[in-house]
Symmetry: C2
Subunit: 368 residues, 2 copies
Amino acid sequence: MSSVGGMAITDKVRFGILGCAKIARQVARAISLSEECELHAVGSRSLEKAVSFVLDNGLPASVRIYGSYEAVLDDPEVDAAYIPLPTTLHMEIAVLAAKRKKHVLLEKPVALNIGELDRILEACRANGVQFMDGTMWMHHPRTAKMKEALLDVSRFGQLKLIHSFISYNAGPEFLENDIRVKPDLDALGALGDIGWYCIRSILWAVNYQLPNKVVAMHEPVYNDAGVILSAGASLYWSDGKVATFHCSFLNHMAFEVTAFGTTGIIRVSDIITPFQDKYATFYSSSVSDFAEVEPGQWAPAPKEHRVDADVPQEVVMVSEFARLVSGINTRVSKPDEEWVNISRKTQLVLDAVKDSLMKNYQSVEIIE
Amino acid sequence: MSSVGGMAITDKVRFGILGCAKIARQVARAISLSEECELHAVGSRSLEKAVSFVLDNGLPASVRIYGSYEAVLDDPEVDAAYIPLPTTLHMEIAVLAAKRKKHVLLEKPVALNIGELDRILEACRANGVQFMDGTMWMHHPRTAKMKEALLDVSRFGQLKLIHSFISYNAGPEFLENDIRVKPDLDALGALGDIGWYCIRSILWAVNYQLPNKVVAMHEPVYNDAGVILSAGASLYWSDGKVATFHCSFLNHMAFEVTAFGTTGIIRVSDIITPFQDKYATFYSSSVSDFAEVEPGQWAPAPKEHRVDADVPQEVVMVSEFARLVSGINTRVSKPDEEWVNISRKTQLVLDAVKDSLMKNYQSVEIIE
C-alpha cells in the first residue's frame, strides 16, 4: 500500500461523527456500509451520550469515543468530520474542523445565513478540505435519471414551472421538544429542515441557476418562540421560469416535486426518502393529449419509471464524499467546488425567503 | 303520460344548444346519450354553421336548426339552453334565455365578472329557472369518492393545504386564433378557461368556504392583447388553510389537484378529463411513516383508488341538470341554489385573482 501525502491510496476515509442526533445513526450506518469509508470516532459534549450512541447502534469496538467535539477534531487519524449538530453550532464547529484539516460533511440546513456559511466555506477553501452538505437524495441514482428526463428536450421541452411540497406531521412531542423548533438551536425551523429540500429540488431542476426574485407566501405559521412551522414561497427567473414551494411540520408526510415543461411533466412523490428501499420511482407524461369528443385514454399514458438502488442513498453520499476526499488527500485532485456552489445557492434562496417573510411578503431580489 | 305544468313527468328535457364551439360537440353527444335529455335544437349566428354542426356530428334529423340564438330561445319546445358561447356573450344570452323561461346550463367561465354573473343569476331566479355551470368533472363519480376520502377524518385529518396546477400546451395555432386568447371574446384567457377549474377544485375541497384573501403570483404571462396565458395565486382562509394554484396555456398538459390533511394526502392527476374512459383513479396516502435508520418501505404505502364510470362525466352532468329541470317543470321542486352558490363563489375568487394581478400582486380581500 503506497502512501501519498499521509494517506494510503487504497485507504478508507476515516470519519469522525460530531454529535449523536437521530440522523447520525443513519449516517454512521452508511459509513459502515460504504467500502470507501470507515467510522473512526464519535464525539459528543457528553462522553456518556457518545458511549450510548456507539453501544445502541452496535458500532465496532474500534470506534474511538470522545467527550467533546474538539477531541474528535484533534484526533490526527480522523480525515473527515460528519457534523449533524444543531444549526446554531455549525459555523463554529465546521470552521474548527476545516482548520484542523478535516474534510467537512455538514448536515442541512448548513448555516443560519449566508454570512455564516461563507465563513465555513472560506475556512474549507483556506485549508484545502472538501465541503459537502448532507442532502442525501441528491445521491440517489433516481436523481440522475430524473435529470436525464428533464434534459430530454424532445420529451420534456423547456422547463417552465416547478412545484415542491414537502411536509410531515411532526406531532406534539416534536413540536414541544425537538431541536428543530428551538430558536437557539435550529432557528430556521421547517424552512431549514424541509424548506431546504424544496429549495434544493427547485435549484436542482433549473441546473442551479439562481432565481432573480423570491416572494414568500402569506400566513406562515410560527411557534410561540418565533420558529417557522410552515411557510412557502414563489421563485421567479428572468427567463420566465416560475417555482413554488411549501414546507410544513403540520401536514401529513408528502415529499413531492413536480416539474412542468412545454411538452412533458415529471413528478416524484418521495424525493427525500423513497417509498421502497431497493428501487425508487418517478412519473412522467410527455406529448400527451386526450380525445375531447370521444372520451378515451390519454395518449400516450403517463409512465412510471423505476430506478434500482443497490444501496441506500446515504451510502452513495458518503462514498461520493469519500472519493472526493481521497482524491484530495492523494493529491490527485483539488476540492470540488460544485458542492460548495450548490450549498451556497440553496442558502441564498433560503435567506431570501426568510427576508421576504420578515418584509411582509415583499419581493426580494437575489444578488449573488 | 300525465302532464304537469306543460311538461309530462316522464318527458325528456329538451335542450337547445346555442353556438357550435368544440365543447358543444361533446355536450351534444352527452345529451344524446342521456336518458333524461333530448337534443331539440341547435342555433348559431350563421345558419350554415348550425347545419354543418348537425351534419358533421351525425345528430338526428329531428334536431331543429336555427340561424340565430334568439330563435332557439323563442322555440317553445326548448326546455333548457346549453350556452357554450364566448364569455363576452354570456350575460346577454343567458339573461335572455332565463327571460324566455329556459333553464340555463352555462359553459365556464360563466361571466367576465361577478357583476355580470349576478345579472344572469338574478334573471334565472326571477324566472324560476335552474342555473348550472358546465364544470363536468364535478359530476364524475370519482369526485364524490374523493370527497368521501377528504371527509374521512380518521384517514385524512384536517384539511390544511391544497394545490391545483392545470395547464395544457395550447400551441401556436390556438395562441394566435382561439377565442380564449381574444380580449373581445374570452378576456379572462387561461384564468377563465383553466384557472376556473383550479379555483373550483380548491373551493370543492374546502366545501365552498370562501377564502378571506387572495394574492396573485408575480410574473403572469399576457399576450400582446393583454389576455392572460399563464397565472397563479395563493388563497388564504381565516382558519389557517392555504391553497395555491397555477394555470397556463404554455406548459404540458397537467390536471393536478393535491389536498394535504394533517394525517393524509389525496392527489388526482387528471381532474378535468380522466386518463381512462371506463374508470378514473386517485391516490391517497394516510398515516404513513418510514423507517429512518433501516430504510424500507413507507408504511402503509400510498394507495391507488379506482372508481368506475358507466358513462362519461358530461353525460352525468346533463342528466343531473335534466333531473333538476324536470323537478322544477313538474313543480316537484324549486331551482337548486347550491349550483348557483358554487358558480358564484368560483367567480368571486376568480375576480379577486384578477384584481390582485391588476393591483401588482397585492393581497385582495374577498367580501361575499
